[in-house]
Symmetry: D2
Amino acid sequence: MKILITGFDPFGGAEINPAFEAVKRLPDRLGEAQLIKLEVPTVFEKDGVVLERAIEAEKPDVVLCVGQAGGRSVISVERVAINLMEARIPDNDGQQPMDQKIKEDGENAYFTTLPVKAMVKNVKEHGIPSSISYTAGTYVCNDIMYRLLYLIDRTYPSIRGGFIHVPYLPEQVRELPDGTPSMSAELIAEGLRWALEAIISQKDEDIKEAMGTIM
Amino acid sequence: MKILITGFDPFGGAEINPAFEAVKRLPDRLGEAQLIKLEVPTVFEKDGVVLERAIEAEKPDVVLCVGQAGGRSVISVERVAINLMEARIPDNDGQQPMDQKIKEDGENAYFTTLPVKAMVKNVKEHGIPSSISYTAGTYVCNDIMYRLLYLIDRTYPSIRGGFIHVPYLPEQVRELPDGTPSMSAELIAEGLRWALEAIISQKDEDIKEAMGTIM
Amino acid sequence: MKILITGFDPFGGAEINPAFEAVKRLPDRLGEAQLIKLEVPTVFEKDGVVLERAIEAEKPDVVLCVGQAGGRSVISVERVAINLMEARIPDNDGQQPMDQKIKEDGENAYFTTLPVKAMVKNVKEHGIPSSISYTAGTYVCNDIMYRLLYLIDRTYPSIRGGFIHVPYLPEQVRELPDGTPSMSAELIAEGLRWALEAIISQKDEDIKEAMGTIM
Amino acid sequence: MKILITGFDPFGGAEINPAFEAVKRLPDRLGEAQLIKLEVPTVFEKDGVVLERAIEAEKPDVVLCVGQAGGRSVISVERVAINLMEARIPDNDGQQPMDQKIKEDGENAYFTTLPVKAMVKNVKEHGIPSSISYTAGTYVCNDIMYRLLYLIDRTYPSIRGGFIHVPYLPEQVRELPDGTPSMSAELIAEGLRWALEAIISQKDEDIKEAMGTIM
């Protein structure tokens, strides 16, 4: 089994992005699975181009993209990506799209094809907080997740794909308001590892467990 | 102009729901617009049946549904509903659906057809905190929003429709952890009023303003 | 019975201070008690001078000072003031003391002589969130509370005195991060009113109820 | 130089306490300083007895006590302890004191004699979030800090002493509400290490830097 795992480069004036910091700490193999690590640009559309090129080259069985969700406290496994670009700040190429579709001919949203409940459960069982999220936002993280799932839907139906949001690193929150959560790169990497382990072993359908919201 | 505005009945052991508490405080007219207020059951699917019946009877130009988002601090205007029922607690009929589609033949998601940015802007300009949300959750609030937008998509294309999540009432947070935000029913009603005013005056397309996330 | 109740003027670039906004909405009488309302300057030491002058002139039985605690979500009744001035931003006279005692000859701290538990209980019973706080901070709020209790300790042993911190107003949090709690001036005033009612009726010692922390 | 560092045992139904988990990960020497590690009971008064016995036996130059502050997100250096026991839950001996003084003949409060600003600064400079706190609560953490500072004031004036509160461990927050911050034991231990380094090198008075509140 081959797994392509991506992390974004730093953006918004930051010098570091917890996503790739954690991804690069992962081993090259996890049991039977080979891990291909890729840093992707925090740029609308170009993130998808870089991703597609890597998919073509590597022919992975699984693609897991990872990004930063500043303010979240847990390993946050995304369930859905929406067909919308709405940026609060410019991306690394200076673009700031608003009210635009990612793909004119795409669905309004795509659901991940990864076993999100098994992933959350396995991360938690190994001592690391985790939960399912039902919004990947409207910035570049949602963008790459949507492009990945569009690509799977149109061209690579056998690939399983999805997205994980991770907290700030401790060093990033030093000047932010008291109470802003963070997680060390080591612990994020460990969380990703257990999420990947669940992806590897849970090949069929996801486990059954109530992981919804009460809104 | 005729506006149908709904609020859920209490659920999860609560004796009160801020949604209908606020809705019933609204006037019967707002300028040119007539307001029809409706309490809907916190029950998957039945919420949509009650809603559809009211739409048939009233033939409104606008439908705005309102629900509680415990823990949120602002008038939270939803942009998208997803085709998923995933309940963390049973609804008022004891159902707790998981991993189920709301509509087998529906889109993965529907975007609201209300001018969400104009709504947020107008609420804030009148002194009340507000923002756009990109997840209505996976419980009954997302359910009614999805069913409304499905109905509009299929049967009532001229109706504009959407959803607003509102905070807990002050009395609901008394035994919750310190820091849990709340908003008085009077202030929520005032927020809804300014949101409605924006819906009434912003008949064409929405204003342009960056209201995305930075995840 | 005569009660002197104070609220600070706006500071830190704000145009409004929830403390005096709420205080001025209070009635002039509460049952048997007369309320004297006083706006005090957000200035270290001068706050105490203005307060002392009013105490001399009015000879109140109770003094309750009120101030803003941006970020708190409840009517927050303070139990203790410490002998320390440590300002993160300059006060309204441009002073920014650090590591300084408020009173060279004062105690390290003074406990309030108000029935804080009865106050919290009464506010909550009337539907408004409230709790005891064990820190009034190190800015002007702690300063006036300490100066009041020092004055009571030295000169006016028959006066009962204390301090209440209140949340931001809704209009103040519009541009702050989502999740920042607020409370309307009307509801804060109502909360103060029930706190005052407890002060008026609970003349002897406080009620017994566990209201500590679990740190 | 000899440093006595203590951590509480688990309480409130927990199986683990981040305080001693971190303390036991510290080395036995830090440069010139020898570290003596001690687990103390989460029991009012007995914590102080155990502490005093260790001080008598070890004759340390510095005493640093460490405890859990569930919900805080940073290495939280306490500046003051108050003469009050007010427990929300029973301690490990089943006691739940309320409205009681810790020491009948003690001051209302004691300020730490550690260089708290240098400690916070050094922890942050090494990439770990940290801030000063002005309340150690009213449970056993405040209890041991108060007893330590009382002892220093009365009997051991040459000892420098203080307290640090640390976040939950990641495994502790798995079933707590999303958003509850945590920190790995490794990172907490690293934070304590940099705090200790500042204590060791900052032997005279503390650095000057504004670290107050804006309440």
